[in-house]
Symmetry: D2
Subunit: 297 residues, 4 copies
């Protein structure tokens, strides 16, 4: 397997919280999960990392399952053209975030997922869901990271209060961001993550359990959103280079879906200017090219 | 073939110029061009319509061929999150439009394509290129439409002067918009348009002439941009519903690329709120579903 | 004295909290305090009302007295051109609000005034200061209003967290907005308010106690800010019509300063579209005209 | 008379056109015109300079005289909170500029002044008006500057086309900007400018000719707009420091009105960051302080 060794150690490791800042920038993991259950791995594919915004995909799937298309009254489905934490469009569009993959949108999605329950129960549901999808009970929330997220979460709290001011939040801000910070702090390996994303490559059905996780059209919806909005202001570049729906996190992880083929997870902590893993994106580009999986060729 | 008869006559026909306003809203044409040269048609597939913004795809291909990746110093490759003619992001991003498929970006692309030549020569080059791709000399510029575009072109002139103020225009505004208005006024049929887009489905190579129109990676680039930015603020919805790179025009036409499979053109004048053909999009959705061509399943 | 009886009962009474919504819209009070201590009153001049944003003037004076010109590292001194609670400029200008009279700027000013102290002590300091300036101990905080402000304070909390995210807040958000909500809930009469503003008309010196409340150039600064920014998006209209520095509140009160001449307070609950007292502004216009006090004639 | 010799030669001379760039930065002129016709001068008060945006005051007076309050359907009267040539607010507010002293607003004002006439006649009217107010026929348009303005006028053309797109322009863009560029290119001395502004200090009446130039309430309106919007993003600072309505131009000139007292013109080419004459503003500050003319004390 081609690895992006030239890019290793380059880029900037996220340093807004200590737990992320101290990660070794030379790590590079790769895992490909196929519908038959095979997982091909390479490099640091078994080391757990903070999935951060990649978690938004799973929360979105859960929220769609729970509230259905009514979710779209709280959050849009179009690219934002702004930074991941911008509040400008939120003001001009009455507190409705552009899509579920920018921070405001993910917070709104989490709010809908809560659906009147306790925050702890919902955080647990998210974790259980990811464990089940990963086929591995060892996925867990890194509470050190979650605490730091909360400590530095002023911007996210601002977004939440802003939506609340427009009536677009159904639960107390601290309840919502409390769940949000914990989902961002989930730690798992490339192997686990690739496996966990497999249902999105298979029309919403987990091929190993046979369970229909979300309806086929919802899996399609999630994939389309990942393609158009998965990397903030770098989504266009990622679409061109990799040609697959993907979602990146500032922990250096990326989940990529090849519909009908499989699910790929990469991890390398050094980020490009848009907050996407530098070596991770290159590894995906090489792989998608070699496999002929880009949907644009 | 499934047709979107329920949506026929619904939506709003573009009425900012007389030539568009008087088109029969009940028209619906469909054409599918396959790599072997077969073109399957249905409905009003042989009637010429004003392709409007669909022309941006061909200008982009020509500009990339002429100036290569230096084009990206003049225009970006990311979704805009704004209306097709917004100037806000242009101000905050120093006169560099977000992508070549919003108006400002298409004007910047046309400016680069001109490359020191006379406007007439460039308009002719665009037309010749489209005729060659369509395999049909009868494609032509509707000068009545072009004149009306110019008459009502204040917003586009504003965008052009704005970019000029930032040094992002290499030719006089009137030269650039003169070409731009003419490319928007090209009239052709679904049959011709589907055939003309075929090279984008075949890694940049026209399968019938064997000519490599643009390099494979540039065809991929164009497809990725179409997927992410082809329908302004409706791109996310179109990606979900159709699952293919596409570009719509306010004349009611849509060009859709199914990489490796073929090229599809539809036409129906009634538009949805975002300016995309209502019945056209539904027809594409039905077809993509039936053919199993959505890249997100 | 001319009264604005035609406008009485017109306009919209602020209804975002119950305590404001139930105020009789037909109230109209007027008080003019002269440097010799005389206070001329008319109508409901002795009835207490919620001063709301008029309190920003007193907090500003106190903050300037406490931290001096270092305050201007936290907040600007220019008109905003946006609504009173807009967050857009806050994002483009890195969390520094435009001026101390929009909500974000008043929150930043309160934050600086706190200066490491307990919120309760600071709220008490503000109240004591206003009592001393009013020469009347009966001015008080309406805790019912303060509680309602906090209950509906999502937008203000959003602004506070937003500034916090940019490092422009020195105390916990709840401490700051806790003081802010209480200062907005101060209830006093026109007579008290006119008397309390007198030091701003007399180069910072309270003419009745002889105390130099703020330095002369700071009183000038406050007056200039009131003139340019005192009525949000209605500041230009107010400047033209009244021609004096003023600050309005959604409780229907307006404080107006006639430098060298006196201090005027009006109150009438019906608001115009920009949130300024309709009858109050007319009364001020008539008075300024009759007295020849507009600075623009 | 106090002069701002320390600031002389500091600041940045406007260099976007050659004619402005070559002006000696050490120039400093000052003129005070009193209602009795006396003009006190100091320094380079008899040297002509390019008045640039100061001309907006005279065009505004003429337009108000011609179309009356209907002018306010084309342009607002509130501070903008944005740069002098920003287009952002123009987009969110449907092509209506915030006030007549930002570029878009001055262009809209000129458009209304044209009122169906030839551009040449209108440019001549503006010049004649200024000559008459200055009591000096030697004021003239510097056609070298006017030509350069037009050559570099992309941003202003963009603003004009933008307003045209919203239906807020009644004449062809080139006619309007043709007049606008010429009014900006008017060259006159401090002595002439101070004399020309005198009617604004005397309730609209030219005290030397006895002519009522504009109604008293319109002079008040103009003064209020100058106070709130006369120096773009530096208006608040100027109001505090000088305390008088003023209008600056990038040629280094400033016209200041002291209602009831007189009219002041200063000129020094070095500009501060906001485009206001550095030494000029300091000279005005010293003078206003010494004369006790600030309206905020």
């Amino acid at each position: 397997m081609l690895l992006a060794t030239e890019q290793l150690g380059q880029g900037r490791v996220a340093d807004y919280i200590p737990a992320l800042a101290k990660v070794d920038p030379n790590k590079l993991g790769f895992a490909l999960a196929l519908p038959d259950g095979t997982v091909h791995t390479s490099g640091d594919a078994d080391e757990a990392f903070s999935i951060q915004s990649v978690s938004k995909i799973f929360t979105l799937a859960l929220a769609l399952r729970r509230v259905g298309s009514d979710l779209w009254t709280s959050v849009g489905r179009e690219p934002s053209g702004s930074a991941f934490n911008s509040v400008v469009q939120l003001e001009s569009e009455q507190g409705i975030p552009r899509n579920p993959l920018i921070n405001a949108g993910a917070i709104a999605t989490t709010d809908r997922l809560i659906d009147g329950r306790e925050g702890d129960a919902v955080a647990e549901e998210i974790l259980d869901f990811i464990c089940a999808r990963a086929g591995d009970d060892r996925v867990e929330i890194d509470f050190d990271v979650a605490f730091s997220e909360s400590e530095t979460g002023a911007r996210n709290r601002s977004l939440a209060h802003f939506m609340d001011a427009f009536g677009n939040l159904r639960h107390p801000v601290e309840t919502v961001v409390g769940v949000y910070f914990r989902q961002c702090a989930i730690a798992m390996s490339c192997r686990q993550l690739a496996r966990a994303g497999l249902f999105l490559a298979m029309e919403g059905c987990d091929p190993l359990t046979g369970e229909q996780i979300v309806e086929a059209h919802r899996a399609r919806r999630i994939n389309a959103i990942m393609m158009l909005c998965g990397h903030y202001d770098n989504s266009g570049e990622f679409a061109f280079r990799v040609g697959l729906p993907g979602k990146s996190g500032v922990g250096g992880g990326i989940l990529c879906i090849a519909p009908g083929q499989g699910s790929i997870a990469v991890w390398s902590p050094g980020l490009n200017e848009a907050g996407t893993s530098l070596a991770g994106a290159v590894a995906l580009e090489h792989f998608a090219c070699a496999a002929g999986w880009s949907v644009f060729d």
